[in-house]
């Protein structure tokens, strides 16, 4: 009995020391460490956040900038935790200006009212509880607990300047560079700060690359060059305490190139806009009016393990609560016929995947 007790306590101790020393990181299974994606719901879906050493790829929708929501929150969260950031963009020549558009954490007071409204919603809908699915409920109940690790961000409030004016944030524009060699050197230099030698993680780095492979870049027709870059970036990240998030437009690449990128990703997400007046969808899904887009989770990082992560649902709706807070929810089909909750999820993702067909996912 003593043996089991000591086993349990040593496990919990290592977890608690990790989180208390550095609020920005959290220990996960198989010796991995998570940092927050900046979206509480996404952390929950991915089982804790993005794992350090992993490459996260987000497939953009050509019609909507929803990938920017994920990217902005990821960057803001890092700056809030004083984690160094390297931001590269091919969309503009003024990357520093982009930092001014990052969201700020929501103030506690606003947060409180938000919880109250949430509970009210739930009380009204108690009879439909089984249609909600567990993740959503547990996500709501856990908001307060992990506030150190992951913040709620108010998308309408810009991040205060002092968070990014220091040396913490590096910005690069890759629009005019003829190839990716300089960016690769920069990433290598950045990642070398976080090499995984020490036992404890003092700091974690974040690299955000926006619209990689977009056609306005000079290297846009050099597919092998871009693929090699991502590959070496992945190899460098593997041995460092950093997370790289890359967004790319799959529709602008050749199918085989896009597939190769998807294979390279440890965590693969895609975002999709939803048409404004799709009456069929509106009838099918509850809360359709509040949705701004859909998030698909294709692959979840599995470092140090061979077991794939199978999620309850892979399609989530992106909602803006009060036009301020980013919320991800399982798709809830309107309760028309009396089938079980799990089939709702699958039918939701089925209708999603038929949509995806035209987008080459």
């Amino acid at each position: 009995m003593a043996a089991t007790r000591s086993g349990v306590s040593s496990f919990s101790r290592s977890v608690s020391t990790g989180t208390s020393r550095n609020p920005g990181v959290k220990h996960g299974p198989n010796g991995t460490t998570f940092i927050s994606s900046g979206i509480p719901d996404l952390d929950k879906i991915l089982g804790g956040g993005y794992s350090l050493g992993s490459l996260v790829m987000i497939m953009e929708d050509a019609e909507a900038p929803h990938h920017m929501l994920l990217l902005r929150n990821f960057m803001s969260q890092g700056l809030l935790h004083k984690q160094p950031l390297l931001y590269a963009t091919s969309a503009s020549t003024d990357p520093k200006g982009f930092l001014g558009t990052l969201p700020a954490p929501a103030s506690p007071k606003e947060d409180k009212t938000r919880h109250l409204t949430n509970e009210k919603d739930l009380r009204i809908a108690w009879q439909y509880k089984k249609y909600f699915g567990d993740p959503q409920l547990s996500i709501n109940s856990n908001y307060g607990a992990h506030h150190d690790y992951c913040n709620d961000f108010d998308l309408r409030k810009p991040l205060e300047r002092h968070f990014y004016s220091g040396k913490n944030a590096d910005c690069v524009s890759i629009q005019d560079s003829p190839n990716l060699t300089s960016l690769q050197d920069q990433c290598a230099g950045f990642l070398s700060q976080f090499s995984r030698n020490e036992a404890n993680i003092s700091s974690a780095g974040r690299i955000a690359i926006q619209s990689f492979c977009s056609p306005q870049c000079k290297y846009a027709n050099m597919e092998w060059h871009m693929l090699s870059f991502i590959r070496s970036l992945k190899a460098m990240t593997r041995s460092s305490n950093a997370v790289v998030v890359v967004t790319f437009p799959p529709s602008l690449l050749s199918p085989s190139c896009s597939k190769r990128l998807q294979h390279m990703a440890d965590t693969l997400l895609s975002v999709r806009a939803i048409p404004d007046e799709d009456k069929e969808m509106a009838r099918l899904l509850t809360g359709y009016q509040d949705m701004v887009g859909l998030l698909n989770v294709h692959k979840v990082a599995r470092l140090n393990t061979q077991v794939p992560v199978i999620l309850e649902a892979t399609t989530f709706s992106i909602k803006l609560q009060k036009r301020r807070y980013l919320v991800l929810e399982c798709l809830n089909q309107a309760p028309v016929d009396g089938s079980s909750g799990s089939s709702y999820n699958t039918s939701g993702s089925c209708s999603g995947s038929t949509k995806a067909g035209s987008l080459d996912f």
Binding site: H225, R231, S256, L303, N304, T305, V307, I310, L311
Partner: protein
């Protein structure tokens, strides 16, 4: 100690009752949705447990040593110890990248191949017959060569010749869906042609499920009366084993 569940996988691969892959080429194919890396882990474990003098030369292009070490430890094989015993040779090619000009990239592959050959030659005479060469991602080889499929094919052919020259086993993983839209997917076609055993991992047509992680198709080319032997079954990956079963037989 073999897990009972993995018997079906062993049986279909032709690995039951002390058979092995020596002298043959095994090609494993997967897709974005269903990774087949677990087949490599299984073969690795099986190789080390089956014969006391067997050794593996592992060309790692996609994952680090610690990743494989942790996975294999859960299955029941200590890679670090095997490495110290000179039975596991981990060649780290994660940053392998050849410069873009002229002939230099060919020399790069030649150097890798020379390394493999010297490793085999350095082994004691008895162990030389029990060498497995494993590549964890063929598609990354093409990236390292800046897209030149000819150089990759040359290299793979050279590796393939080792199966007849030294009686090595050659195991390689590639991604099937990359080549679906290519005009001339010569790498995958030639490799499929050469393969003695072809393992394809696919997702279920009905989508993801918690209890079934995908399906495996195993083609074994026999040089006898029946040309190809096909096995088709579902699998579920666990930390310490693979559970394989025929469709509909799992309770």
């Amino acid at each position: 100690m073999e897990h009972k569940e993995a018997n079906l996988l062993n049986e279909s691969l032709g690995l039951d009752s002390n058979n092995n892959f020596y002298g043959r080429f095994v090609l494993v194919e997967d897709t974005v949705d269903t990774s087949a890396a677990f087949v490599l882990h299984h073969i690795l474990n099986r190789t080390f447990s089956s014969h006391p003098s067997s050794s593996v030369i592992f060309l790692a292009l996609s994952n680090t040593f610690s990743h494989y070490d942790r996975i294999l430890r859960k299955i029941g094989c200590n890679l670090a110890a095997q490495r110290d015993n000179n039975r596991f040779f981990f060649i780290d090619l994660l940053m392998l990248q050849f410069p873009d000009e002229g002939k230099s990239k060919h020399n790069g592959f030649a150097a890798v191949f020379e390394k493999i050959e010297t490793l085999i030659k350095a082994l004691p005479q008895d162990n030389m017959k029990c060498v497995t060469i494993m590549i964890d991602d063929i598609s990354f080889l093409q990236l390292a060569a800046n897209g030149s499929s000819d150089h990759v094919l040359d290299f793979l052919h050279y590796c393939y010749t080792l199966t007849s020259e030294y009686g090595c086993a050659f195991v390689a993983l590639d991604h099937r869906d990359i080549y679906l839209n290519e005009d001339k997917p010569d790498i995958i076609l030639e490799m499929e042609h050469l393969a003695d055993v072809l393992v394809k991992a696919e997702p279920l047509a009905t989508g993801l499920a918690k209890d079934v992680h995908g399906q495996l198709m195993v083609f074994i080319k026999q040089h006898g009366i029946s040309p190809v032997k096909i096995h088709n079954f579902h699998f579920k990956i666990k930390e310490n084993s693979i559970e394989c079963f025929y469709p509909g037989t799992k309770i």
